[in-house]
Structures are given as C-alpha cells and as structure tokens.
Symmetry: D2
Subunit: 337 residues, 4 copies
C-alpha cells in the first residue's frame, strides 16, 4: 500500500500515518519527494482495507499495491493448471469444445443435439436445467428432470456434462448429475454459492460477471480454491458497456491478462458473449487465436423453436462448419481440436 | 415488437415473417415505407423472445416494444406505493432515513451507533450480519450472532432493522430477526433469493446491480411481487462505469425514471454509491433534491477501526451535520424528515 | 511513481530499475516488503510516462502517483476561482443560470427566448451557431449569421452570450461575438482548439467528454490555463455508460470531486445530461444540492418545432417553474439565484 | 420511427400523434394492439429527430427504426470497398499491415524503424508528426519537420505513409506529405476535420472514438463520404469501459458487425487497443481471425527511449515474430500477408 501525502502535509501528518500503520502491525517507509512525501506500507497480508488511511489529515490518496488473491495466482503456482472434467482435460494443448443447447427442453431435444455435437467433435455437453432468467415470466428450466435428461444424454454419447447451479439449495442435486458445475455471470459474486461449489470439489466453470474487473473475477475463483477445490475453469462471456450492437462486449484481451496473472485455464463463450448467431464463428476464431483454452458454443437443431436464446444458437450444420474452420486456426497457435 | 425488413427484402420475406408471427399466435401488421417495410407484431404477452424473428431472411432488425414487467409498473398501478417497515412508512411525504454501521461488529458497537443515529433523527437501523465480500480473506460478518445484536439494538432504540440476506439457506434466519430484508447489488439477479424473499412476505430493500439496466432492476423487483409480496423498496447504490474517482458512479437520474415507470419507492445509498466520506453529504442532498424517498447512510462511531468500509462511514457528528443540512432541502422539495 | 516488483524478482532486477530511474534523472527508493520489493520514484515532473519501467525484468506493475495537472489544481491555488463572463460572476455565492435554445434558428426565435429567460432570472444566454451533429444530414447551425443574432439578443436583453466554438478555423469569429467560448464534449480533447481558446483569453466553458476521466477533464482545462488563460468554467454534461434510459448518465459526484481537486467553478448541463425534459428539473435541483455553481438549461418557446434537441428543451413556463422551485434549494445550500 | 402509446392513451392522443406526423410531411400508421396502440411513421428521410414526438400526451416511448447513414451502408453499396493507399490495397484478400513508431522522433529513428518493418513484411508506415497528448506537458510531436522525415522514410523504403491530422489548420500540410490521413479517436466527432478530410480526397484512416457506438462511428465515416471521398478505412482501437487491466477494451466483435452493415474495410490497432506489449501479438492474431482487414502495430527499435507509448511498442524482433506467427492464421481465414 502506498500513501500519498498532500503537498501541504506537515511532518506531524506523516507521523500520524506512520503511527496508524504501526498500530495495525504494519511497517511504514516514508519516501520524501521534491513536491510531496509518500509512505510505503509493508507487512500487509491483504486484510487491511486499501482506504484505511484515507481520512487521516494530509493524506491525498491511498494506492493499493499487492493483489489480494493468492491461490489462483501464477506467482504462487507458476505452472498451468489442467482441469479434468469427466476425463476431458481443459487447459492443455488440446482445446476444449463445449457444445449443446442453452436450455434442456426435452429428452429428445437434448439427446439429438448431444449426438450432433459429439459427431462434429465437441468434447463436453452443455445445457441448462436451472435457468437464470431476467423476467419471472420466461421459461425457468426443467429442474431435476432436466438434470436426468443430461445424464441420459451423457450415457448415450459419452460426453461429460457441464450445467449451471443457481443456488445453494439446489447445488447438491446438480452436483449429483453434473461432471462440472457452472456458476453463471449473475452469480459470480454469490459468495455462498462459490463456497458451496468449493466444498463439493467437482470442477467449476466460473463465468465472469457482467461488470467484473479482473481482480474480482480472480477473487471469485479464489473463493472456490480457498475451500480446497483447485479445479476451476474461468470463462469470459462478455461484459457490459455502452456498446449497443451486441448483447455484451466480448473482452478477449482478458485472455492474455489471465494467462499472465493466473495458472487457471480460460474459455470463451461467444454465444452469450455476442448474442448473435453471425458473430459466434468469428469470435470463436478470435478467442482461440488470442490463446483461449477452448470455447463454449450453443447449438440447437431447431433454433427457431428454442425456449431460450434461439437467435444465438448455431444449427448442427453451422457448428460443423465452425469446427472445420477452427481446425487450421488451432493448428496455427499450436493447439489441437 | 417491430420487425424492420432490409431494403432488399422481398414480399415473400415479409410473408414469412407474417406466417411466423401467426404460428406463434400473434398478429402481424405490415407497414410499407418508402425505403423498406416494417412489421408490427401485437398480441405478445411478454413470452416471445425479442429476437425470435431475427434470423429469418430479409429481416434487418427486431425492436422490442412492450416492457416485460407488469406488477411493478405504474401503468398497472398508478398510485405510489408506501411500504411500511416495522411501522415506518417508506415512500410517503416523510423521507426515510436509514443509518447504521456497514457491518455488525459487536453488541456494544451496534447499540452505541443505533443510539447515536436514533438521537439524530434516523428512522431505521441498518447493519450487516452476513457480509458479501469481494475477497474470501475479508471479514465475513457475525452471522446469526449479528442478527441477535441487531434485535437487541432495536429493543434498545425502537428502530426497525434492515439487514442483508445473502442466500436462500440463511434467508429464513435473517427474516426471523429483520424488519426488512436487504438484497444486495451482487444478488440483484439471484433469482432464487428474490423468489424466497417474495414468499417470506417481509419488506424487501432491493439494491440495483452494478451494471443493471432500469428494465433489469424493475424485473428483479417483479420477481418479488410475482410471489405475492408487494413491499419492495428500490435502492440506487451506484453503477459501474469507466469513471475512476469514486468507487461507483451514482446514477441519480434513475430517480425520476423510476418515478415515471413504477409505483415503488426508491432510496439512495450514497455511502456505497461513492465510497468516500466527503461525497456522502453532497450526494445525500442531491438524492433528496432529485426526488428520492430517503437515503441509507453508513455511520460508525470509530470509522478508523471499522472492520469494513470505514472510509465511507460518517461519524455521529458528521451524520448530525448531514441531517441538519438536509432539513431545508427536504422542505424545499415538499418533504419532511 | 511506484514500481512493484514480482515476488520472484532478484536483487539484480531491482538494481536495473534503480539504474533506469537514475539514467532518467530520477531518484529511486527501494522498499523491501515481506513478499516483494517496491521501488518509489521521486523527482518526476510529470514528463516520465507511467509505464516507462513496465517491461523491465521482474517488474509486476507500475503505479502512477502524482497528478500531471498543476495550474488547475487546488494544491497549487487553494482559493476558489470566480470567472467573470461579461460581468456575470461564475463560481461565487450566486449561482450562474445559463439558459437559451440548443440552436440559434432565427432572430425572432432567439430574441424571444432570450427575453423569456431573462424575465425568469437567467444570467447568461446560451445558443449554438455552429452545431456539432452526429449525422451530416442534421441541421448544422447558422454559422456567423447565428453569432450576429446572438449579439442582437445580447443587445436586447443585456445577457452575456455563451456559444460553442467547433474548430480552430472558426474560433476567431466566434470570439468576436461571444462573451464565453464553449468547448463541447466531443472536442474536450481537441487539443488545438483548447490551445487556441487559451490564447484568445476569453472565458471558456469546457464540457466534460463523454468518456473522460476526471484527470483527463482537468488536463483539458490545464491546456487552456497553460496558454495563460485562467478563465475556465468546467461543465458536467453526462457520461456514456451501459445505462439506456437516459441519453447520458449525469455524474453528479464529479462536483465534490472537482471541488476537492481544483479551484475552478463547475456547472451542470442537465438538458444534454439527460436528454429528456421531465428529468431536467429534478437533475437541476440535484446539481445545486450537490454543490454545483450553476446550471445550463435549454429553453425553447416552441420545442415541438425546434431544429435540434427539442425533446429536452423546457418551455418558458417550465423554466419559470424550475427557477421558482430552485430558489429554496439554493438557499438551503447557502447560495442565491 | 415507431411511437408507442401508453395503455391509458385515448383515441384523441393517437390522433394528435397522427396529426403531428402529417404536419411534418410524414405518414402515420396506427397499429392497435391488445394492451396499447403503436403508431408506425414512414417517409422519414433521417431529418426528423427520433424524440420529436416524445412529449405529446399519451406517448410512452419513441423508437428509432431506420439508420441515418446511407453512403457507408452495405444496403446501398453491397460490394466490399478496397481503398488504395499509395498503391497498397486495403480491404481485399491481402491483409494490410501498418507498422512504425508511435511518434516521429528523428530522421534516424524513423528511417531505421521503417527499414526494419519493411524488411519484416509491413506494407505501410505509420508515425505521428502531430501528436494528441492528454497532458499539455507531454511531447507534442515534431510537426512539419516530422512530416518531412516520414516522406524521407517513404523515399528510402517505398512504404506509403499513414499519419495523423489533428486539426483543420494543419490538415493541408499533412495531406501534402501523407498517403493516408489518420483521424484519431479523440477527433472522431471533430466534424470540421472530417469534412476537411472529405474535401481533400486522400484516403482516410478513421479511428473509432473511445465511447463511440457503431452508429456514431459509421456516421463519422459518412461525413467523409458525403464530401465525395469514398476512401475511408475504419479502425477499431479499443473502447472505454470499467475494465482496468488494459488501457482500453478492444471490441473485436465490431469487426463482423461492420462487415454486415458497411462495405468499408476495417483494421485493428492492438497497440493502442491494449496499451501493453504482451497483449499486442495475441490481439493481432484474434483480430485477423475475427475477419479484420489488417492491423496497425507500433514498432520501435528502442522502446525504452521512446518519447511516447514506449511500453506498447514492439521491438523489430518481436514484430518479426508476430508476422511469422500471423502467417498461418491469415492462411486459416483465407487471407495472405
């Protein structure tokens, strides 16, 4: 932490800052400059609020220096983590392709789509049984019935299942059926859910919140790791900005940023990240070119009848085309499909 | 819903849109213009996704017209709602002043602050027993012990208690002690929590999410009302923008916007909305001048020792000063304290 | 500037940072911590780029400490600046009320409106002769003809004139007629225009750019002051965010922030800041309650016929009502009208 | 334009909307729905403000339908435009690689870098002679001297020159030396500059403003085309969001969006778009994979001595590596280098 003093701060003001730091068990290092003094604070293990000094007289600004995350940090764990989801590695040389419908609508729909995406090269099946919907009047998912359908589709195709847990009250039933628990963007800071997912220990696909900074995103993952579960896969799915031509603004520069700061794998969801079918393929290509460890793609055999997010779903034919065109891009960045 | 056709769309394209609408039980009204045709869609009760037509040939754009919320809407309920929290009306001529510490830290701390704010004119006591914290290593609140302390402070001062429920697993215990359940910004789209709060029936203070549009905010309230609980108080607490000189950007223009679209009362939390003590008073004055039904202010008798958010807490003396200066502003807009 | 080293940085890495600083004529102060070392840099007069050290080995992060603005800073000039526009003080105890049409459309329109706003208590007349328009097909203003009309309206009413200069090629002709040059939001970082306005020496009303940080806003003012012109009035007019219910998001918390960091007066433009007539009055009240030195309000006697921004213009009757209701709020914060 | 009436609107209210439209020479098409009436407006050639009806009684909302741009639109000009810059085509099968220093600092520096980037496959030379700088105390560029240096570097290497014009007063001198005029992000809505660039007729590289919507970006290009200059190349360079780990948030989804709406080529500037050297290569790959027509890369042979933006500049060796790794990605999307 660095405390910047006002130009007009007196030595007594600086002294008060030093005293306050020492009372908190920290060490203070005054740095006199030409125009002002700054005070470096060391010994902070992340428990002192960055603003604790802010209202002392003569203090102009307090600047946080150390990052509050530890377990997710590459500084503490230099090697890449590879998370195994039902035997499928996420984070290694081979890209992870997750595909499936937005929502589980019926056994026939889910099994049909699972077969289609399996045949075209997907490694993992996605599909929501519990759906977070902006409006209480929208389709809310089939619940446990949907989980059973996903399990049946896994039985049929061998694809491990990634599906969302919405709440601590249903996370156990989701964990009973799923190979990987998805925590959605709206729940990225539902800390009780993160802790529960950490305790369960199954792999977690953690989506970035709509307005989450990178630090908040990594700290959300830290909640899971702090419970003893290291199997977290991060997922960029677009952030909220002023820009109005897509549903969200896909922030692909988070990929090299995460790679630098964390050892966890990161995927991209270009379906939710753009909300528009014609942007899914180009943004998938861009994600892999930028270094993502895979993509999650919504596929529906009858998008015009989908109960949610039909307009962003690819048909199996479009998914097939995407996979074919993705192959040389993967190769170009030294990855396989 | 309005479907805008491309300039090059053929009559057959328009016909397909009309057919698709009729298959969904809707009525289509083609509007031929000089440069292009548009098709108005009526009969939609909010269940058709705005984008359902988007991938038909010849369609340029689909524009949503009707708002998906009903129960929170002023169109359906023209008169202002006044919510009673433990006998204190929120939404009428008298402003509602909520004050108290960010977090409940001890019986002595909470009772001391409760007495101070009561003596200076607060109507409701706030304080968190369950705290949502960005970092797993920050103080997480006293839990049920904190709720008991809040109840003791109410006993002592007569101030009804507003406190946060973080999760469906703890909402019942919170409801046992609280007069009003707060749903925090990070949980604004925790739909299971909203439904649970709706079922419990106690007043709900719903904070706007950090990147929530007005429609999403009102739909979150709609979740509570749809469960049969009309006692929702909205609360603006700042949104996330590029702006870096405050913790959040307080969006006061939401006040007249809510007043126009909804019958629910709206408060402002200038403490979290700015994160800086010196901005709390000016933004409180601005909130009331803009038409807010009250403010929620963090007060701590020893802010430098607070376990969370100390730098935004007012001392009792500063709170007293704020109340004195707020009085003529309230009078100027026809409200009382 | 503070340079934070990686946990794994070697003493040689730290040495290279110290050497680099010294080569630039700066002084380096290493601060060894438990987990990492940081290096404070002093002697920087704002000419070293904050990132100059970022790519040295072992450097984790570089944090800028000192603000690059000087002349606009309250640290360098503790007392409030009062700018006189044609004899009307802006920044003192009396609030400055600027009113008038968005665009000058005709002599009759402008003189009519000028008389109306003068009669209702406005101190300064606004009106655009050169209009920045998003579309090349929108009305672009009357140019010098419009300036002559403004001068005639001043003659008629005694109200000094505030009007926009769009470009270095027309700023001289604008300065010939105007009492105060407005620099619009889109030109806040048109540095050639800022320098030209600085050289001319007339008062400048500088609007905040749509995505300008506070530092960028103050540095834009610094450009004017650095040319020897201290007569700058800042103006908040809304920033661009994800929020979609107003044209812009009025960021009123910038008022106490500017007051703390700068001695310059600050006004608010709630007409452009909201884009909606029904929000102009509440946001005007909020602005003054938050401490603004005045407001700029668009008024049109026939808003439905206005050539630009009619929907945000108040009628003279609504302006009159606003002024009446503003009076007690001004009094409540110790200001006069 | 679509006018949505309130549920409680009377037939007289609807009649007033129809009358108002007709007075403006437009045609009104009422669409009675179950819950409310909407009125479609046709005949609008982009000159009626979207909000012109908003304050009539009974009007809930006014929705803009047609896009105000014409000449830049793919609807009006279905085939891709290829812009020739000094003989180098931008927009066709071959990608355009622009490279060079942020600022022209000296003849030796610029010629050295120009030779390096030419040898490694760049097609166009970039470099700023007039620099827009946030602070008045930062290096402002060499001016015409810098332009002469760029011309000398072109002489030496054969690379056509892209350089920024800051202002109408210097655009003629820039045009004398440059093969392509760059309009920077801060000037995207400097409409006088856009018109001047349109009149000069040389190719224009138009950078997206920091908070420009896609419509505003295309309308800025429309200003140039409306003056008779069709040679506009668009350039995404990052937008401003809450996200704090890069200088800007590179919005790559604008690439497929532009491709759909406009015939103009689009490049990406990953150097300014991220501000960090280690993100330049991954974001370049992502840009090309997403369909961009090229990239603009800052290269400096001694980045640690650069007078501006050193930390985002690649060394010639890193640029060489980027070009080598870009080649297979270009091939994967059917492009050449």
């Amino acid at each position: 932490m660095l405390i910047v003093m006002d130009r007009s701060a007196t030595p007594a003001d600086v002294g008060r800052v030093v005293d306050a730091a020492e009372r908190m068990g920290l060490k203070a290092h005054p740095i006199p400059g030409e125009q002002r003094t700054a005070v470096g604070i060391t010994g902070n293990r992340g428990t002192v609020e960055p603003t604790a000094f802010e209202n002392l007289p003569g203090v102009l600004e307090v600047i946080k220096v150390s990052h509050p995350y530890k377990l997710v940090s590459r500084e503490f764990h230099p090697d890449d983590t590879v998370v195994s989801i039902g035997g499928v590695p996420v984070g290694g040389k081979r890209l992870a392709i997750i595909a499936g419908p937005c929502a589980v609508e019926s056994l026939e729909q889910t099994v049909t789509i699972a077969r289609e995406v399996k045949a075209r090269g997907a490694h993992l099946l996605r599909g929501g049984a519990y759906k977070p919907r902006t409006s209480p009047y929208s389709f809310q998912g089939l619940g446990e019935e949907g989980l059973k359908i996903l399990a049946a589709a896994r039985e049929e195709t061998g694809l491990p299942v990634v599906t969302e847990a919405l709440d601590t009250s249903s996370i156990d039933v989701v964990a009973k059926y799923a190979d990987c628990l998805q925590i959605g963007a709206r729940n990225m800071q539902n800390f009780e859910l993160l802790k529960a997912a950490g305790r369960i220990g199954k792999p977690v696909l953690l989506k970035r919140g709509m307005s989450a900074t990178l630090e908040e995103f990594l700290l959300a993952a830290e909640y899971v790791l702090a419970e003893g579960n290291p199997n977290v896969v991060l997922c960029e799915r677009g952030v909220r900005t002023f820009s109005d031509f897509t549903r969200n603004t896909l922030d692909l520069s988070v990929i090299p940023a995460v790679e630098r700061l964390s050892h966890l794998p990161i995927l991209v969801d270009p379906s939710h990240g753009t909300g528009r079918r014609h942007k899914v393929a180009p943004m998938s290509f861009a994600s892999i070119a930028a270094g993502a460890d895979g993509v999650a793609i919504e596929v529906h055999h009858q998008p015009e009848l989908a109960l949610s997010d039909g307009p962003q779903a690819l048909t199996p034919a479009l998914f097939s085309d995407l996979m074919a065109r993705l192959q040389p891009i993967a190769a170009a960045v030294g990855r396989t499909l």
